[in-house]
Symmetry: C3
């Protein structure tokens, strides 16, 4: 099982989740993806889940609690794909998995009405533990469809020289991850396999590439941070295969004037 | 086994505790409650232990290290109840468990005199690991009684309209937890079952309740944060059943002028 | 297995490492030493590894990722001693273990060329998991020698009254750890067994000791923090046996003007 929350580790909340999981599913192996999702930021949570999930063991059950609407009308759900099950609020958290992995089988979790403020402990963790112990999805509630899906971030090959996308995430080091990818270098070409199926696969020339920023500035696409001087900006293919904007031994988020949603271009000049 | 300390996670200290536990009790399942108890704050630690322990597996062994007097005369102890064992300093850490669960069987841990500054590693973790491996409590030291118990926070039904208590904890989000509870909504009534046995159970009318603050301000008792506007204060029954004071998408500790120990009233106006 | 990185816990990076380890070595027990090594600080990482490793179970495999040169020419290695295996970059990380435990058997890890920015996930974690699953060291790459070793911190008995060393580490509480030790109190004497073999063992008189600071100030060597008044400086034998400089309920790093590398003396005045 894997946990992804915005609870932080200062309080007892993560420990309580793990206590409930360990009580109900004593043999489960618990992996923390992070408990420091920016508080209430469902889009960041959805991105982090997309990013981490390929590296977790197959059939992992994800306990997902970033839930700014806890206690309101939003539903609790469990969503099952061939390769993973996610348990959490129906607030968009699973959007990018749906785009990548297809429509899951979803049930709405029975609400035992025990707590208005800590559904992670009272609803989601018990459901995740039951699934880990072999309970069938359909025994946890009636089938439904996900109600809330986040918009798919823009990725568009506007010409053979320009691919347009946007900043979709800021990592803890201040690197800015864009929606342009997945980029697979293959010899003299780069294969662009859109990460959320935005358009068909295509091939780009692999040399003399740059990232175009909103103000017209360009950053060279290089292999790694040390390919530019300290304090200089760079573009690179990040560890998830997406185009990223960074600053060598610095923070792109602080140095460059780029926010979430800012338009970024991949320029093929070769 | 569960760990609750003020070591933080920046240094190696938590890893060393877990190394000692894993060396001596390789099969033990380790759950972190928190390592971010405010440094040296035994009262906060006692509260967090009270709060988390109902959700950990039965028979959990708690390794408890918040120990501002390490190296001084305070004793190391292990305290055993039917449902849990706690290992740590005799400095008040276990006070609220004593109030809730009754007097434990206590032994004073032999002090091997190996270290003056890291009893967690040299005394408490080895003792906890031995207990996890089946060593009997009495084999770890001579029977004693706990010397230091924190005062029981005030909770008093002063009339059928007013219950008085105090702020006992600030959670990492800035919510202020009071000593008024445990409050169990039961239809048109709320059952007040004092969390540390301060007085007998009683019943309150469940409608038109408010929290009275020291300056005379009142906050409505609502179900959840979104029941008030963003930035507004509210009172609610927290996930432990205690009356809490919060601010929707904000921090009560920052917004309201309320400190630990401040008097709070539950006003029954219905 | 144990993990020591500078990834922090805000992002998904530690979770991804654990996902890879759990996928390839499902039975491995994972212990976090810390993920908050100051970013890119190989010397601090080497010190923390030296400090923690005696308390981890024998035959632990250490996944060590503090790697400011990731993607550059530095090699990835696995280094094997009788008691432990370390996997990580050949950048000095294992220096203090070499000084303490002798020359290890080292291989250079095959580089599958899959990622330029996340060798922890793509090279080091898979190698560590394979070793945990029984793969022989020599199956992971060709034998080499470690290329980069940090200088051994100074420790010199300049007279029977003065031992000279330097500040080698600042812990998260602001305590300053020096290179003077390991100090073993033995009755009326202290045995000095140099932690990195800087010189032969010797014996010091155990009474009337002090730490001499660069400006000429002296701090008494006492047993524990509470032996001096709040806010006062002290010297003490830390939990690793090294002479440390602290301030009771304060931060030596903030209060005293001492940086890494500053000369400190142990003065034997008895």
């Amino acid at each position: 099982m894997a946990l992804l929350t915005d609870f932080g580790t200062q309080g007892i909340y993560v420990g309580v989740l793990k206590g409930v999981l360990s009580t109900l599913a004593p043999r489960a192996n618990l992996i923390d993806i992070s408990h420091d999702v920016p508080r209430g930021d469902v889009q960041a949570a959805a991105f982090m889940l997309w990013q981490a999930s390929p590296y977790l063991p197959p059939n992992t059950i994800y306990l997902c609690v970033v839930d700014p609407g806890v206690g309101s009308a939003r539903r609790g759900v469990a969503a099952k794909w061939d390769t993973q099950i996610c348990v959490g609020p129906d607030n968009g958290f699973f959007s990018y998995l749906v785009s990548r992995d297809g429509t899951p089988e979803v049930i709405e979790l029975w609400d035992p009405q025990v707590s208005s403020t800590f559904h992670g402990r009272d609803i989601f963790a018990p459901a995740a533990a039951q699934l880990a112990s072999g309970t069938a999805l359909n025994d946890l509630g009636p089938p439904v469809e996900l109600e809330i899906l986040l918009p798919v971030p823009r990725l568009e090959s506007v010409s053979s020289e320009v691919v347009e996308g946007e900043v979709v995430h800021q990592d803890p080091f201040g690197n800015l991850i864009t929606s342009i990818g997945i980029l697979h270098p293959e010899g003299s070409q780069i294969r662009l396999a859109p990460w959320l199926g935005q358009e068909p696969e295509s091939f780009l020339a692999a040399q003399d590439l740059a990232a175009g920023l909103p103000g017209g500035d360009e950053l060279p696409l290089v292999r790694t941070f040390d390919d530019v001087a300290e304090g200089e900006g760079l573009a690179y293919i990040g560890s998830s295969g997406l185009l990223e904007i960074g600053v060598n031994r610095g923070s792109a988020a602080q140095t460059l004037d780029l926010k979430l949603g800012a338009q970024v271009q991949l320029l093929i000049k070769g």
